[in-house]
């Protein structure tokens, strides 16, 4: 779900309650059921400045997405953070930075908080965005480092690396690698270092086809300079022994 969709869900949940005591009860229950933060995460660094009650907010990144955990000595504050976490958890830093959340005003939360608590809420939102900005910078830095590495190899070099890698993948039935066997019809390294491979199997009914394609994918992905791999399996034209290299034929005693 997008940030906007989760917000909409929360707004609808709050429509059920017609008075603020019930809304508070709901927020309190959210606060009570929130997963407990590890004591080790309750550091001075994670403490949010400007909150009347003490609030700790921790953030970790996994596969380019951010996950938050938090705690507070005030249960209403904790409930409010749990709403914020629900909205932001699992989104990319970019999505979080670009988001402008509305639910706090729509459900009337901001206007129903005391001014000191409303300031605390602003501080929490600010902290979440600060985390997102920090992780965004980190991710960008890693990406540009990768890009630099890729550019170390020319397209021709990557082509060679791919072929070397293909020569490490063996047909499960014939003790010859897929390249010398002539299963690879085309290797095309694109400008962005994505590799397009067109290949076939010795027979359209080959029971190991999936394994072979997967092995090829893994080997090529790991080849230096390769960014992505796209494999097309074809039986047009059909494979025959004439496609084998001389080495392969020698190996199999066909020469």
């Amino acid at each position: 779900m997008t940030i906007r969709e989760i917000e909409q869900q929360i707004i609808e949940e709050f429509l059920v309650f017609d008075n603020w005591m019930d809304k508070y009860q709901y927020i309190i229950d959210l606060g009570k059921s929130m997963p407990v933060i590890q004591e080790s995460a309750k550091t001075e660094e994670n403490l949010i400045k400007g909150c009347q009650s003490r609030v700790w907010l921790d953030c970790r990144e996994e596969d380019g997405r951010l996950y938050f955990s938090a705690d507070s000595d005030a249960i209403i504050t904790k409930g409010i953070i749990s709403l914020l976490i629900r909205v932001y958890d699992g989104h990319t830093p970019q999505e979080i930075i670009e988001s402008e959340i509305e639910f706090i005003d729509t459900i009337g939360l901001r206007s129903n908080l005391s001014p000191t608590r409303a300031n605390g809420l602003v501080s929490m939102l600010k902290q979440i965005k600060l985390y997102a900005v920090a992780y965004n910078e980190k991710i960008e830095a890693e990406k540009s480092k990768e890009d630099m590495e890729e550019e170390k190899y020319s397209i021709e070099q990557v082509q060679k690396n791919v072929i070397t890698a293909l020569k490490q993948v063996f047909d499960p039935e014939i003790p010859v690698n897929v390249y010398d066997l002539g299963l690879i019809y085309e290797v095309n390294v694109q400008e962005n270092r994505n590799v397009y491979i067109k290949m076939t199997m010795t027979s359209p009914t080959c029971p190991m086809a999936e394994d072979v394609v997967s092995d090829v994918n893994n080997a090529v992905s790991d080849a230096p300079g390769v960014k992505g791999v796209q494999i097309e399996l074809t039986f047009e034209p059909e494979w025959d022994e004439s496609r084998m290299s001389e080495e392969a034929r020698l190996e199999l005693g066909l020469m």
């Binding site: 603020w20 005591m21 508070y24 009860q25 309190i28 009347q52 009650s53 003490r54 000595d73 005030a74 249960i75 209403i76 504050t77 129903n112 908080l113 005391s114 000191t116 608590r117």
Partner: protein, 430 residues
């Protein structure tokens, strides 16, 4: 301008109801509920007499004071000086010269701390109380820093392991009142514990060693009858807004000989006699300490404000309200003390020990801010946080607390409503 209150008769409930009607804010609704205002230690609600007075003063008597020859300015000056006279009578000061208008308790204390401590030397001591609020701690620290003086603290029982009531340990004075002590800053009634300190006893101990004493009367002016001559304090400080007057106005009472010795605090405006570029002579008391245009409208509102305070404490009204207040205090103490999960800060250790209806406490495992927020939704205004007395609150092992503080216009019914709402909020939060 004098506002006369007609003597009231009737049942105690009638008296209370009629008194409440005089304070329009008490009829407000908050979050759809009738307002129950229990943050009187922070500020009090204003009677209609004060509101009307301010409106009239701004409409009909507004001109700068002490400056001009025209009728309008005369009216403003007369109202301003009438309020000084009223304050003088209210605290039984010898003369209007002893009454200085400031911007509040904090400003009054800063004035004394700053000017008095200029003559202190390195190593001199300033004695303050552990149960003081920040306004009676920080000005002394600032003044001490400038001259290299030392601030020492009269402890409460908690600080010396003699109990946990929050009561001041007067016995500690024997040791603390050394020759090095140059001034003593007392708190009449603590804004956290509501406990009445034995100021008279402490003052006479200090005077025996020729040490002048300032008394912070921020709460004392509301909850006790102040007679500065009987108390024999050298300075007494309070704010108008805590005793039904306007905000931004305070009073500093000072003994004449001391005020005369002190250098001026701020310069400018009406605090001078003659000014040349080389030398200035200062106006006589009390104007010497009233630099710039004073808050003359706010200060003048002390006349109706103190009249209202007198009305609340005298005659049949006084009796009815006093009885109600005692009922409330007893009820609140019973409820809070019998509850094992409640930690009350400031328990009177004896029946006859003075405690004003200020109740600061925590409920185990519950955040005071959460309670205050839910109580607000039920129409109740109470304070949560540090109450500007962080060191004292910390001594109780608390980082924040809830405070319900009552004024004479609060009722037993409100106390009971507060307790039932507190229980409801507590159930929600546990």
């Amino acid at each position: 301008m004098l506002i006369s209150y007609t003597a009231m008769s009737g049942t105690s409930n009638n008296i209370i109801a009629r008194t409440r009607k005089m304070v329009p804010a008490l009829g407000l609704t908050m979050n759809g509920q009738k307002l129950v205002y229990l943050d009187n230690a922070a500020t009090t609600q204003k009677p209609k007499q004060v509101l009307d007075f301010i409106q009239k003063a701004l409409t009909e008597n507004n001109a700068n004071v002490h400056r001009s020859m025209y009728e309008l300015s005369d009216r403003a000056t007369t109202a301003y000086e009438a309020a000084r006279k009223k304050v003088c009578e209210f605290i039984n000061a010898p003369s209007v010269e002893n009454i200085i208008f400031t911007s509040g308790t904090t400003a009054s204390i800063n004035l004394v701390a700053d000017t008095f401590c200029r003559s202190l030397s390195f190593g001199d001591e300033i004695l303050i109380e552990a149960d003081s609020h920040h306004s009676n701690i920080v000005p002394w620290q600032l003044a001490a820093q400038r001259v290299g003086a030392i601030v020492k603290v009269i402890p409460t029982d908690i600080f010396c392991g003699r109990g946990k009531s929050g009561k001041l340990v007067v016995e500690a004075l024997q040791e603390l009142l050394t020759n090095k002590v140059k001034i003593l800053a007392l708190t009449h009634i603590s804004n956290i514990t509501g406990l009445h300190n034995p100021v008279k006893e402490i003052i006479s101990a200090a005077h025996a060693k020729k040490i002048p004493v300032l008394v912070d009367g921020a709460q004392g002016i509301v909850h006790s009858e102040v007679d500065v001559q009987a108390m024999d304090c050298d300075f007494y400080a309070f704010s108008a807004h805590k005793i039904y007057g306007a905000t931004g106005v305070g009073v500093l009472y000072g003994k004449k000989e001391l005020l005369e010795q002190l250098p001026p605090y701020m310069g400018g405006g009406d605090m001078v006699e003659t000014v040349s570029y080389e030398k200035t002579t200062y106006a006589p008391l009390p104007l010497k300490f009233e630099a710039g245009t004073p808050n003359f409208i706010g200060a003048a509102s002390l006349t109706p404000a103190l009249e209202f305070a007198e009305y609340l404490s005298s005659g049949s009204v006084g009796e009815a309200l006093k009885a109600e207040e005692q009922k409330i205090t007893q009820y609140m103490l019973d409820i809070l003390l019998k509850d094992n999960d409640v930690e009350l800060y400031g328990t009177p250790d004896a029946q006859n020990m003075g405690k004003s209806p200020i109740f600061t406490f925590n409920i185990k495992g519950i955040n005071a801010g959460d309670l205050a927020q839910l109580l607000d939704k039920m129409g109740i205004a109470v304070r949560s946080g540090m109450m500007c007395a962080e060191p004292l609150l910390n001594s109780f092992g608390a980082t924040s607390a809830l405070r319900a503080s009552f004024a004479p216009y609060n009722t037993m019914e409100e106390a009971e409503y507060f307790v039932s709402c507190l229980n409801r909020a507590r159930k929600m939060l546990v």
